[in-house]
Assembly symmetry: C3
Homo-oligomer: 355 residues x 3
Amino acid sequence: MGFVRNAWYVAGWSHDFGDELKPLTIVDQKIVLFRASDGNLVALEDRCPHKLLPLSKGKRIGDTVQCGYHGMTFGTDGRCVRVPGQDNLPKSAYVDTYPVEERHGIVWVWTGDPEKADPASIFDMPEFSDPNWHCHHGDALHLKANYLNVAENLVDPAHVSFVHPTTLGSAASEDVPVHVSTSGETIAAWRWIRNAPPVGFFQKFGGFDGNVDRWHYYYLHMPSTAVIDFGSVDAGLNLPEEDRDQGVRIFALHFVTPVTDDYTIDHWMHLRNTAVGDESASEQMDAMFRIAFAEDKEVLEAIEIEEKRPQKRKPIRIAIDKGPNVYRKRIRDLVDAEATEDLGEPERPTFVQHD
Amino acid sequence: MGFVRNAWYVAGWSHDFGDELKPLTIVDQKIVLFRASDGNLVALEDRCPHKLLPLSKGKRIGDTVQCGYHGMTFGTDGRCVRVPGQDNLPKSAYVDTYPVEERHGIVWVWTGDPEKADPASIFDMPEFSDPNWHCHHGDALHLKANYLNVAENLVDPAHVSFVHPTTLGSAASEDVPVHVSTSGETIAAWRWIRNAPPVGFFQKFGGFDGNVDRWHYYYLHMPSTAVIDFGSVDAGLNLPEEDRDQGVRIFALHFVTPVTDDYTIDHWMHLRNTAVGDESASEQMDAMFRIAFAEDKEVLEAIEIEEKRPQKRKPIRIAIDKGPNVYRKRIRDLVDAEATEDLGEPERPTFVQHD
Amino acid sequence: MGFVRNAWYVAGWSHDFGDELKPLTIVDQKIVLFRASDGNLVALEDRCPHKLLPLSKGKRIGDTVQCGYHGMTFGTDGRCVRVPGQDNLPKSAYVDTYPVEERHGIVWVWTGDPEKADPASIFDMPEFSDPNWHCHHGDALHLKANYLNVAENLVDPAHVSFVHPTTLGSAASEDVPVHVSTSGETIAAWRWIRNAPPVGFFQKFGGFDGNVDRWHYYYLHMPSTAVIDFGSVDAGLNLPEEDRDQGVRIFALHFVTPVTDDYTIDHWMHLRNTAVGDESASEQMDAMFRIAFAEDKEVLEAIEIEEKRPQKRKPIRIAIDKGPNVYRKRIRDLVDAEATEDLGEPERPTFVQHD
């Protein structure tokens, strides 16, 4: 159904970008990124307006980019500063620029109308800056799948029992109902599995002996940033929902970036209130996450293939689909609004509060 | 021109299927097969009606199949028996089932209207059960080619001289005319090459010293089961056509299964009245058949590519095309009849008798 | 925009073709070439009119070609001489033939109306037969790119400074204007870079100590034969344009053959007035050319991908585009003329004289 263009999407981690010209594609737009001499990132349309060669095939001359075919050269503002063999610079000689911002080691690119790009609307959460929390950047998972299927998976706690039985889920949660609510541009889907054995992840990292209360809160911020708040605590404590910080708590963040209609990159990382400063724990968690996300990838890529095949009848919808359904409807509304150019200023996504 | 759907197609040999969920595609329908606890084969639509994940990506729970995404579970009758997270089972929660039968180690799936599936119409011949005949299952030949081109090759004795000169044919047969007749849903094309040196196959397996009379009878049963009755006998005996059992006689069977419009699997095997019980002979024959069928594959895949290119003029038809032409016309009639839903009960294919 | 069909295109070097059936594609037509028993090349439509199998999958029987499927056999004039299994030869049993000529070790095929094929119009130049000039055949460069982009690159001296800075160009030429003229069916684009250090190629092969005068004359003969006349001479001599033979002079020839809409083969070779008879020099030059042409290939294939993506705005045109623009316009006129069948006899391409 197309893309939300007036949005900040994650292009990568800060350490992915340096002096060199780095090409990437977001919502079907080819973009070249590089770090200018002042350390700031620059994002330009990755296509020379002359013969269409990607500028990333050219080279940097100071803070300008020279096309590798005939040497047309562009500044960080996208304006052409040189056309070899002539003195005048045609007005049409420019490339688009993209607003780009860095926050907490994450690089965000705005793909819509630059006038509407508000850095204050970039996803943030206080734990990024809290010394009691450990922040660890993970990988970029590449999926041959439409971004909607990837993102809806991240507002869907129910799949965990079946897709990730050895890591993040277990049979104990199979029939626990999922609650769903919305707030601003965020959908929340959550459930508690009370008084059950810890799942693989918390066996390894929680040090739990007996049964735990386990929670899964999935927050999906429009268009495609997911925060999965999950954790465990001794079942005996009977922890109230709002006191989750007293348990072992993880925020798994997924920044879902649509590349093309059938290709998506999920940059994933986490924040945690346990093993703070312990990079060995980070690596072990990454190893476990990689197992789990490879399971998602297999499911989502198989679905992508099936969705392109002829369909005899409409897919059915079941109770646990509420989060995904609300998500798809909201994206459709946003895409439609952009198509009719009636989109107002996007509101800052806010966390849903359940207290 | 599409597929005949009201038909039994070969899914594989009995030994190809066990406890595990095995995905396959027949006439563009994805099907998952497994052997239930009672030993019977079950064939289900390989697509969960919820998010379309192939059920073959899930797992068996007893004789049910659980989807690998959200755990929806289906019985051998295709009905959903469980939707995790809810008590009610929606009426639309089902997958199609396919009639499936085993005969002589061959697995047949009916891809059309289940009401019309008559196990009595499955291809059979008395030699399967005759102790004087040796039955040997071969391979599955995969071809990037439309099934019509594969099947018409099996009612076309004329190609053998040119495509298989070292194994099944020789120059002696190049200009021998081909006879064609039809009977019920079977087309027969045949010729005798009298008093000629034996071809490679019968040099090796017939033990012939001098010239032989050699026959080729191609029976193509609608929609795509071929029986190639070929053999040799000492030329001096002047064997009448109906006494072919007195020579060295082979029935090469080809079960041509359309996978998609441009992909076909040919399961091939044979019955023979020589070297009965000699598995070493079977292996040597398979080796020779593999050479020959690789030659067919090269031809048929090259034609598939050419047929998709622009055509300056209509292909020409020649005398030896009679069998293929009758075949294509009959398939077109069957496909058209199904399209208009006027197809009556398919008649049981019968062998053509030429005595 | 399609192909000019009434033209001689290069199929390869003479040594590429022998007794065997060699398939190739020119302007989307599949052609099989072989050398008949009299040594002359034969070019036939590479598709049997019966079942469409490429004749190159068959075999030669003397100077005829026998189809590998049912043995239909064609003479060097394209007429069918045998249909196995029948006596009569249908009138429609033929394949197209293509006029084919060899000149100086180069094989040319005419892809248009055979009536219009005039061998006198095949590209030639006196240096081929001049003992003071060394003729060396190079490689066939395969490009996943439309032929227009490949050919326009060969009437575009301006790209050399940026695409080939270590071999054929240097920064000294970046802003030197390009002159363009046309004469008959040839476009010329040229410039002199006076009193500059020699580029990599002439450092290696010219033996120059100090600054040189360097020239680049690009002649593009319709539809896609390019002659790049380039060379250097001591700057002190102040050589007039017409006395280029007194310098170290190379004619780099590029025979650009459209294969399909997005695939092109560039057969390249050269003539030179230095290191005559020195095959070691030829090899060293080839090594340098291969570096340069791999640079072109990377640029042209990247552009091919971009041109197929959606375009937000029209590409801009700049001063150095004059040659390419004239070329594209002329090709469009030729293609349009052929489409309306008003094309008269193609005139023989002539060299532009600038004296």
